[in-house]
């Protein structure tokens, strides 16, 4: 009977003990709590803020206007000063500049406290999520218009606009929808100053996407429509290489909130 009493006692005390600790939400002294980082991606053209319907010159001298720009940033990973890495879960973001919507900021929350020196992200969607539309995570769950259902996957970038054909003096529609696993690109950028993340600090990383690079070495008047077609696969690869190299860090900083 003695052992039975003991069991009864534990049966009461053990859950009680768990109960009293499991809801504790106070910070433990000495351990820094997670914070957040704002990724702010400025779309620029020749170092000026990108404007829709504004006339630009591509690097090959073609006159071009954007009518809409959307792209997917995913799998954000932060590298700390000690070399450890933190991958932001479910990080799939659709950034866009269209006549109806503009989104350039991404809020990374619940980031473990620490000193971070570089940021890594991908343009596009990794193969696992790209191959099963019901696995949509982050913005992909709710943003329509970026999925291809006839050829399972996502458009990693949608760049549409008009180019002036000097032969006819007419503005021609330009449609670039680049996707497929082969065009998934990962970018790692060192931060000019490390950011210090913790609960009472706000950190911001401002990136620049230099869109003048998007059509480098691409004759958009020859290839007016580039999607996942076979005839234009090499053009799509060139555009993917271009978007992989168009991002730079403008600045990064952390500020203590009082």
């Amino acid at each position: 009977m003695k052992s039975l009493h003991k069991i009864i006692l534990y049966a009461i005390l053990l859950p009680l003990a768990l109960f009293t600790t499991s809801c504790n939400d106070d910070g433990t002294p000495g351990v820094q709590e997670p914070g957040s980082i704002t990724l702010d991606v400025h779309n620029q053209y020749n170092s000026q803020a990108l404007q829709l319907d504004n006339e630009y010159n591509t690097s090959s001298g073609t006159k071009f206007k954007f009518t809409q720009l959307r792209y997917i940033i995913s799998n954000v990973e932060l590298t700390a000063a000690d070399g450890s890495k933190y991958k932001v879960p479910e990080s799939y973001y659709v950034l866009e500049k269209t006549s109806a919507a503009e989104r350039s900021k991404v809020e990374l929350t619940n980031i473990p406290a620490g000193k971070y020196t570089s940021v890594t992200f991908s343009v596009g969607v990794d193969q696992a999520v790209n191959h099963s539309l019901d696995l949509a995570a982050g913005d992909l769950k709710t943003t329509s218009g970026m999925a291809w259902s006839w050829n399972t996957g996502y458009k990693f970038i949608v760049a549409e606009g008009q180019a002036l054909d000097p032969q006819t003096d007419a503005w021609e529609s330009i449609t670039y929808h680049i996707g497929t696993d082969a065009n998934y690109r990962t970018v790692t950028l060192a931060l000019p100053t490390a950011i210090e993340v913790e609960k009472r600090t706000t950190s911001e990383v401002m990136l620049v996407a230099e869109l003048s690079k998007l059509f480098n070495q691409v004759n958009i008047l020859q290839y007016k429509t580039v999607m996942s077609g076979s005839a234009t696969a090499e053009v799509a690869t060139q555009v993917a290489d271009n978007y992989a190299s168009m991002f730079t860090v403008h600045h990064a900083h952390s500020m203590k909130m009082e």
Partner: protein, 357 residues
């Protein structure tokens, strides 16, 4: 005497389990009932499914309702079953369907739906990588169901019955396009057909008698057709150019490139996925564009109609330089007799697959 220890332990446990829960606004999630659909032995030992979407009684039943419910379309008039009718082994009897919300003819023939769980590329060009992903195609295509996925989810969320059914199937009454896709995929994976007279013949079951000419047809089939229409799925799951056309237009975003449009490889232009021949007598017309009305036209094509192009299947080039399959008219008739033994009456009458409304 009742044992007090048990009650005390349960009390303690229940404290532990509820301690940090949100206020109990919802009843606990109901238990779903997992199951494995039955598979005839000559087909496979079990039905494959993705780990994230196992079969449950509730999920399959929900998928069946969604499959037959025109609420999926933008005008609430077109369901999956509009183009995938059970009596025709879930095909539609039309070359290019006009049953969609706009009435515009589609650009490819609606394929039969059967034994999809084993297929690793769906659509004629294999562009859809799994059934869950496939269903977004017809639901959103402007000439098929023309539906916006967000609008569909919120329409179902307002429905008197669906939130409860999603709760039964997925443990939550929040309706998302992912859950719509998963339920539809579960149901479609249960559409298993392998109970034709031919199947009973290979399993040596009652009712499995094949006539002399049918058996000769089977032997001819094995000799001339089975390299692509591999038994017992009657497809090799691969892509071939079967000599229908000499050239492939780049129009409509390279639609006629077939598999080449997906892989972006020159050598795949003009290839399509080998369709299964199960229930083939019920699924006329034939080919990716429904160009042949009868099985006679199909086999005659292989006999006399194959045309050359760079990606033509080597199986259709004879050593003497002739194209197509070297068979006589008599042999053609026997092959067609055999193909008719692949009709599975149990499949097209299975009550588990019928319209639940």
């Amino acid at each position: 005497m009742p044992c007090p220890l048990r009650y005390i332990a349960i009390l303690g446990l229940s404290l532990l389990l509820t301690a940090c829960d949100e206020p109990a606004s919802e009843a606990p999630a109901p238990q779903t009932r997992r199951f494995s659909p039955a598979v005839p032995a000559n087909l496979a030992s079990a039905v494959p499914y993705p780990e994230r979407n196992p079969f449950t009684v509730e999920g399959v039943e929900l998928g069946r309702m969604l499959f037959y419910d025109p609420i999926l379309s933008v005008n609430n008039q077109v369901s999956c079953a509009s183009c995938h009718q059970q009596g025709k082994a879930f095909s539609d009897g039309t070359a290019l369907s006009v049953a969609g919300v706009t009435g515009n003819p589609l650009k490819r023939h609606a394929p039969a739906l059967l034994n999809l769980a084993w297929m690793d590329g769906l659509f004629w060009d294999g562009g859809a990588k799994d059934i869950e992903s496939l269903v977004f195609g017809p639901i959103t295509h402007p000439d098929e169901m023309g539906q916006d996925l967000k609008a569909l989810a919120s329409e179902l969320q307002q429905h008197p019955k669906y939130p409860g059914l999603f709760r039964l199937a997925f443990g939550s009454d929040s309706i998302t396009s992912a859950r719509i896709a998963r339920a539809l995929a579960q149901f479609q994976r249960t559409l298993i057909s392998a109970n034709s007279r031919y199947d009973k013949y290979v399993r040596q079951e009652a009712g499995g008698q094949l006539s002399g000419p049918e058996l000769q047809g089977l032997a001819l089939f094995k000799q001339h057709c089975a390299s692509c229409h591999t038994s017992d799925f009657f497809t090799d799951q691969a892509y071939h150019n079967n000599g229908l056309d000499a050239a492939f237009s780049a129009e409509f975003e390279e639609l006629a490139f077939g598999r080449g449009r997906i892989t972006r490889q020159q050598q795949d232009i003009g290839k399509y996925k080998t369709p299964t021949l199960r229930n083939i007598a019920l699924t006329a017309p034939y080919m990716h564009d429904g160009r042949f009305a009868t099985l006679d036209e199909v086999v005659e094509h292989y006999r006399t109609g194959v045309v050359s192009s760079p990606s033509l299947a080597p199986e259709l080039k004879q050593p003497n330089g002739q194209l197509g399959i070297p068979i006589t008219k008599e042999e053609k008739e026997k092959i067609i007799l055999f193909l008719n033994t692949l009709t599975d009456e149990d499949f097209v009458h299975n009550q588990a697959f019928t319209n639940p409304f």
